[in-house]
Symmetry: C2
Subunit: 190 residues, 2 copies
């Protein structure tokens, strides 16, 4: 849990007392490659702190996979809408590599938060980070072309390119695999 503790301290002041209260809400869990963290139709009752490996969230529409997010070490993966409102998830989260996560149980987390404001504040900060990132990616599509979106990812999130295949990245960038391949080619020629 060392990485998680560092992560928490980077977000907010957190006493030993809060940590002791939080611990019962946490379970370390291993996922095999292609194992689901969350399936479409389930209600998401967990936050997944990614300790090692990575996972992705994706819709499956008419049999076609549409990737909507990648989550690496030190990220929190969840369906914020399902987690917050108790609605069924419309997408899946699946391990892309063997993955180790620290799972926050929703009910136990809320119990703990009632006993320590620091935990409530931690929750707020986690959600804030999540919102910032969503906003960032949402705006990419409104202000940039496909090529510019690729360049943005290359400069700001190079680790995605190193670990995620072109085919996987394509739907995340909102273009077809072939188009992404050609965008790359265009740029290496110029």
């Amino acid at each position: 849990m060392n990485n998680l503790l560092k992560y928490i301290h980077s977000l907010t002041a957190f006493s030993d007392k809060s940590w002791k209260l939080l611990k019962p809400a946490l379970i370390r869990k291993e996922f095999k490659k292609n194992e689901f963290l969350l399936r479409e139709g389930q209600v998401c009752n967990s936050l997944f702190y990614i300790d090692e490996g990575y996972c992705k969230s994706y819709y499956e529409i008419d049999g076609v996979v549409k990737n909507i997010g990648f989550f690496f070490e030190n990220d929190i993966a969840t369906n914020i809408n399902s987690f917050g409102n108790g609605l069924k998830s419309e997408f899946n989260i699946i391990a892309c590599e063997p993955l180790t996560a620290v799972v926050f149980d929703k009910n136990k987390l809320f119990q703990a938060a009632k006993q320590a404001v620091e935990i409530e504040t931690l929750g707020r900060n986690c959600i804030r980070l999540f919102a910032s990132k969503q906003e960032e990616f949402s705006n990419l599509f409104k202000i940039y072309s496909a090529q510019e979106r690729l360049e943005y990812i290359e400069t700001k999130y190079p680790e995605i390119l190193q670990r995620v295949s072109l085919s996987q990245l394509a739907s995340f960038l909102g273009v077809s695999r072939e188009t992404l391949s050609r965008i790359r080619k265009r740029r290496t020629l110029s």
Copy 2:
């Protein structure tokens, strides 16, 4: 402040004591049409609860306006990244009509939140709603075509279409004004 109070109660349990603590952090403020709530380069130290009228957030890139969000009555408008991290805003928020907002002052809000967990919880829930919406719109671009995005807005957010002009909506949907006009035409013919 009646609308705001209803809004708060819809989000979380909120005692009179919390309300009294929160009140000093709030100021009702009127904005004229085309008046800025937030300008590019400023740090965002406020949450704007929209009581009447509406506003939009937009980037201005090479002189071209790119709308990234519309905020109507009972929405919270802010730059979550700037507000949370104290960074300069990269976009503007401007009133599209005469607008009445209740402005949450960041410092006073944080002071109040220290004294009442309910205020901290309210903050978490506001951010959660914000994150849900960002995620929703972000995913639109990854799973839908321009036409499908328009249809999504038509069914889930018809008030946007009623109040926002086609030209304004276009950049929000990530297409040109002309293309949006033609998408409409295609659909009315079929």
